[in-house]
């Protein structure tokens, strides 16, 4: 974990309230693995006060990319950052997805802005020559950001939208159900997205006996284990902490 000031190189509005942010000066994030995150802050003054947590989307030489859904003040300001703007970064933070051996096939399940860590996981798997499939759901087609990029890069991708405006109509867990019904051999499910989707994913994976890992969110002040603010209820003790025990958890560890 390092603390440093990076600089915006490029920022794009991807539509559907998503922005793509590329920062330079992020050498310290080069070792980040999929599922790890960083705390970002890029505005003057003490309001908003706290940094915001964002999963690493990808890293390049000295650069790091983030996918930012503009939902409130902090993400709105970061999403509107312009080239040259300074961004304060703490990272890489947390425990990412488990390392995959060649015989494992990762089945990635993304809901909305949960795409970020799975995008990173997909690209990493490709780089390592492992087979990977991504199931990607959103409310409507304009929220299926970066789907084209992933397809263009050869990631096997199925999509679902709640309004049917792209891919199948329905929830991404329906895609998952079908995949697992077809075969579960060597599969491992990695998922990130809204809580109801993650609970449903866990349930489907459990039913099919497939190992499942979830990347969770919770309000965070520090991101580094110092404030104890990011507690979530756990199975074999009262709480786990998203920033240091997670954000990726084995599905059965959390939400008893």
């Amino acid at each position: 974990m390092r603390f440093f000031t990076a600089k915006v190189v490029e920022s794009q509005d991807l539509g559907g309230a998503y922005s793509w942010l590329c920062l330079e000066g992020c050498e310290a994030l080069a070792a980040a693995s999929p599922g790890q995150f960083a705390m970002l802050r890029g505005w003057p003054g003490h309001d908003p006060l706290l940094s915001r947590a964002f999963s690493v989307l990808s890293t390049g030489p000295g650069t790091a990319e983030f996918l930012i859904r503009r939902v409130g003040r902090g993400s709105g300001l970061l999403g509107a950052a312009r080239p040259g703007d300074p961004i304060r970064v703490v990272g890489p933070l947390g425990r990412g997805f488990p390392v995959a051996t060649p015989e494992v096939t990762e089945l990635l399940v993304a809901g909305g802005c949960g795409l970020a860590p799975l995008y990173f996981a997909a690209r990493r798997a490709q780089a390592e020559g492992r087979r990977v499939r991504l199931l990607y759901g959103a409310r409507q087609s304009c929220e299926l950001v970066l789907a084209d990029v992933l397809r263009a890069r050869g990631v096997e991708l199925q999509t679902a939208t709640e309004d049917g405006s792209a891919g199948e109509r329905g929830l991404v867990t329906a895609l998952l159900e079908r995949e697992l019904a077809a075969s579960t051999a060597g599969l491992r499910v990695l998922a990130c997205g809204p809580e109801p989707m993650l609970r449903a994913t866990r349930e489907v994976a459990r039913r099919h006996g497939v190992p499942c890992f979830l990347s969770l969110e919770s309000p965070m002040a520090c991101g580094v284990g110092a404030c104890l603010g990011c507690a979530i209820p756990a199975r074999d003790r009262p709480f786990l902490y998203v920033c240091k025990d997670g954000p990726v958890f084995a599905a059965e560890e959390v939400w008893p």
Partner: protein, 306 residues
């Protein structure tokens, strides 16, 4: 001019500089040590320790407010025994002064915790007594709001340990000076102020409190004016013990303001969440401030409000 002297003496201890980290915002010392060199600090204060481990409150436990944050961590901590076994070894040789913050739900809890924290040699330089805790016996009223209750607690804890005993006051009272006086009469070696202001936040869309426990403690830059006022009120009462100023310190200038208001040391809390090196940076900026203002010894600043 030679470099300003930053060393400070208080409660019989020597601090390399007046800047400490605040309880509950710097874990047990090791969590942030990688980004915030402990040797750059005057000292650190641990997360509050209780006799038994505590899991803490249900979530959500924190939420952001304008220039501040609310927390209801619920004093989650590993408990006395695990603290001594697992956390103390790191602190023994960590390169800075260590104050252990502690609390209880009954007077007995407090006493036994103070005893348990004493006699371990290096690693615990002093204790910080958090009296802003609900008094289980007194029906949940805090130990820290009635001068007689607080004074008596200090007196008993004072009898249970030979370590320097700093008492941390709550700001949620009408007359902080009366409380401070009672604590000093009870034997406090020093006073820390302030702990968090009681507050709450509501999510207008869900109509629910933003914290599971409804109420929480407000910290951060938002509370600095209130903290400075309380420090100054207590300092003007000249109770004869050093004051540790706490509340919204983000910069070396903020720290200087607390010293001018009457504090001998300061603690940096929420700022460590905003940037992990905050406390070290405050210490460095305070040095810079002293140099620029031609202050040859930082302790000259204490109470030097013009």
């Amino acid at each position: 001019m030679s470099a300003p002297r930053m060393e400070v003496h208080a409660f019989g201890l020597r601090f390399a500089n007046p800047v400490l980290t605040a309880s509950g915002t710097f874990g047990y010392g090791s969590e942030l040590a990688g980004s915030c060199p402990l040797t750059a600090l005057g000292g650190l204060v641990t997360k509050g320790i209780s006799l038994a481990p505590r899991a803490g409150n249900p979530e959500p436990r924190i939420c952001e407010t304008a220039a501040g944050m609310l927390n209801s961590i619920g004093l989650a901590n590993v408990g006395l025994r695990a603290f001594l076994e697992e956390k103390l070894p790191f602190l023994r040789d960590c390169g800075t002064r260590v104050l252990v913050n502690f609390f209880g739900e009954t007077e007995d809890d407090y006493l036994r915790c103070a005893e348990g924290l004493s006699g371990h040699g290096p690693g615990i330089d002093g204790l910080e007594l958090n009296i802003s805790c609900p008094n289980v016996k007194a029906g949940g009223l805090e130990f820290g709001v009635v001068p007689e209750v607080a004074g008596r607690l200090c007196e008993r804890v004072r009898g249970a340990t030979d370590l320097p005993l700093v008492v941390k006051l709550t700001p949620n009272v009408t007359d902080v000076v009366a409380l401070a006086r009672a604590c000093v009469q009870g034997g406090a070696s020093g006073l820390s102020l302030i702990n968090t202001l009681r507050g709450m936040a509501i999510d207008a869309r869900t109509r629910r409190p933003r914290l599971a426990r409804v109420f929480g403690g407000l910290s951060g830059p938002a509370i600095k004016p209130v903290a400075l006022r309380l420090v100054h009120e207590v300092a003007r009462a000249r109770l004869g013990v050093p004051i540790i100023g706490i509340g919204g310190i983000m910069s070396g200038e903020d720290a200087a303001e607390f010293l001018l208001a009457g504090a001998t040391l300061v603690q940096v809390g929420t700022a460590s969440f905003v940037r992990p090196d905050a406390a070290a940076r405050v210490a460095e900026e305070l040095l810079g401030y002293c140099a620029a203002q031609q202050v040859s010894d930082v302790s000259e600043l204490t109470g030097a409000l013009a």
